[in-house]
Amino acid sequence: MLKVNDLKVNYGGIEAVKGISFEVPEKSIITLIGANGAGKSTTLRSIVSLVKPASGTIEFLGEDITGKDTNEIVSRGITLVPEGRKIFPDLTVLENLKIGAYTRKDDLTDDLNWVYDLFPRLKERHWQAGGTLSGGEQQMLAVARALMSRPKLIMMDEPSLGLAPLIVKGIFDIIKEIHKQGVTILLIEQNANMALQAADMAYVMETGKITMQGSGKELLEDEAIKTAYLGKKKTTLG
């Protein structure tokens, strides 16, 4: 569905992404894990053209979308849930959702009902200003807002950032639920454990390069990954 080929991106004067290639097949959950500053966010931002790639190509559904306008990419069916949620604090929950559907001009009733079914909490609070929601609710709103564009591929940038463990679990349940309903998901996370458990396929990024790839399960078992990202110590002999 999405093919990234030898993508290089400069960001803030440095080469943040140094030629990466990966693929997101239809109806899968793919995750990019890696430390802060590995270039994960920049990768996602360059896919929706918030940052222009320096070289390389991005293909979506067989068509080249490299460097196209963000609004065009969004209307083709890719949506980004930005890092740190970035909901619109002074707009009501309902207005936030309507902005999510900005590139569409058709009737929104069905989609509103759909996201309200997924997130009943948002229905209860639809009149409230986005900024008054709790962190978890804001994350739900950010995901719901992205869903309003009826995406084929939804990309999430650190959805678990700054949330309590119980809420993180809730967010991942929702990710799985959205996936079940047929949306393809590209997820980047520092919470590698949760991400790898959910993912069909995972890539590890380090300083702008992909250093390892495999199925979620394989990487969960990998010793190097365990030490670097899962916080488990190597068992040493003697």
Binding site: T70, N71, P82, K86, I87, F88, D90, K98, I99, Y102
Partner: protein, 355 residues
């Protein structure tokens, strides 16, 4: 159903305001200060709402309002001076080069359109700038425009630094009231449309708005042009109100006055801007006038009161507002009929809305 009731009540309020104006015009002498305040208040409401659309709703901090008003005022005046009077108005420029005049309504529309055209041109480079830089650039533009319109070489059109006069103006307060009400109505419709939502999204978070597929450049330019269009019409109304204009009237202090009104009313509140306009105009032209005249009660000579003291008091009030009531009168809320109903149903305590 609620919506319908609100529309009916809003229409009734407008009618009541109209009736009040008609009654005041009947009972007050035509030169009474209250009528002047109402006229100017209407015009300033329009200009303040147009500035709020840009600064409060789209989050673009622009200080070019006086420049766009000047363009509107001059366009209107230049186009509508009757052909017969041009000789006397353009006496230093051989009657000018324009020898026709257009109807008032065409002149008003042209005023808005030319201001919007200028906004579009200026917007191309300037809207790439952020916050303070945008403010400085637009302020500079307004100053340049003012100098440009006084340029001698352009005198055949703009009459140089001389006054433009003898163009049609209005005598009744209804005229600025109706024009402003229609324009503000259009702006409210824009603010409540999906474009308005996009403007507010840009104000709240540019990056997120862009990620949602909102074309930042296009929407910023749109807000800038719409705001300038109505500022241009406001400028034309001001020209009509003053019956003669000069580019020197449209100094940057005028922009600051309007900015003050917007801040006092509340950034992001249309009704706040309107209320603050009338309060501001009434205070500066009428209610605080007594501070400028010396007063003696019995044998006691009241200290401090003298010409110019009004401005001191005014500045203190403004400082107090900026320091202690930064959200202004309305914050970013609107004065709504529902709000009043809620207030009366539940006096004393703020009601939590529960569903």
């Amino acid at each position: 159903m609620n919506k319908k009731r609100n529309t009916v009540i809003a229409a009734l309020l407008l009618l009541a305001a109209l009736a009040l104006i008609l009654i005041l015009e009947r009972i007050l002498p035509p030169t009474h200060i209250a009528l002047a305040v109402l006229k100017k208040g209407c015009i300033y409401s329009l200009v303040a709402v147009s500035m709020n659309l840009l600064n409060g709703f789209t989050g673009l901090f622009s200080l070019g309002q006086a420049g766009f008003m000047l363009i509107g005022a001059y366009t209107y005046a230049v186009l509508t001076i009757p052909a017969a009077d041009r000789g006397s108005v353009y006496m230093y420029y051989g009657g000018g080069i324009i020898h026709f005049s257009v109807p008032v309504i065409v002149g008003l529309l042209a005023a808005g359109l030319l201001a919007a055209l200028f906004a579009w041109l200026i917007g191309l480079p300037v809207l790439r700038l952020k916050s303070d830089y945008l403010a400085i650039a637009t302020l500079g533009f307004a100053e340049i425009i003012r100098a440009f319109f006084q340029w001698d070489e352009l005198g055949v059109i703009t009459n140089g630094s001389n006054m433009l006069r003898k163009y049609p103006s209005f005598s009744t307060t209804l005229y600025p009231f109706i024009v402003s009400a229609v324009c503000i109505g259009i702006m409210v419709l824009i603010i409540n449309s999906s474009y308005g939502r996009a403007f507010k999204a840009i104000r709240d978070d540019e990056i997120a708005a862009e990620a949602m597929g909102i074309n930042l450049a296009k929407h910023k330019r749109m807000a800038f042009c719409i705001s300038s269009f109505f500022a241009g019409i406001g400028g034309a109304l001001l020209a009509m109100y003053q019956t003669s204009i000069q580019a020197a009237t449209f100094r940057s202090s005028m922009t600051y006055e309007i900015l003050l009104i917007v801040v006092i009313g509340g950034l992001g509140s249309v009704t706040g801007s309107c209320i603050a306009s009338f309060l501001f105009i009434a205070s500066s032209e009428w209610w605080l006038r007594f501070l400028d005249t010396e007063m003696t009660i019995g044998n006691f000579h009241v200290p401090l009161l003298r010409a110019g003291f009004r401005k001191v008091v005014f500045s203190v009030i403004i400082m107090a507002i900026v320091l202690f009531a930064r959200n202004g009168i309305m914050g970013n809320r609107e004065f709504s009929i529902n709000g009043i109903f809620r207030f009366f149903k539940n006096p004393g305590k703020k009601k939590e809305v529960k569903q």
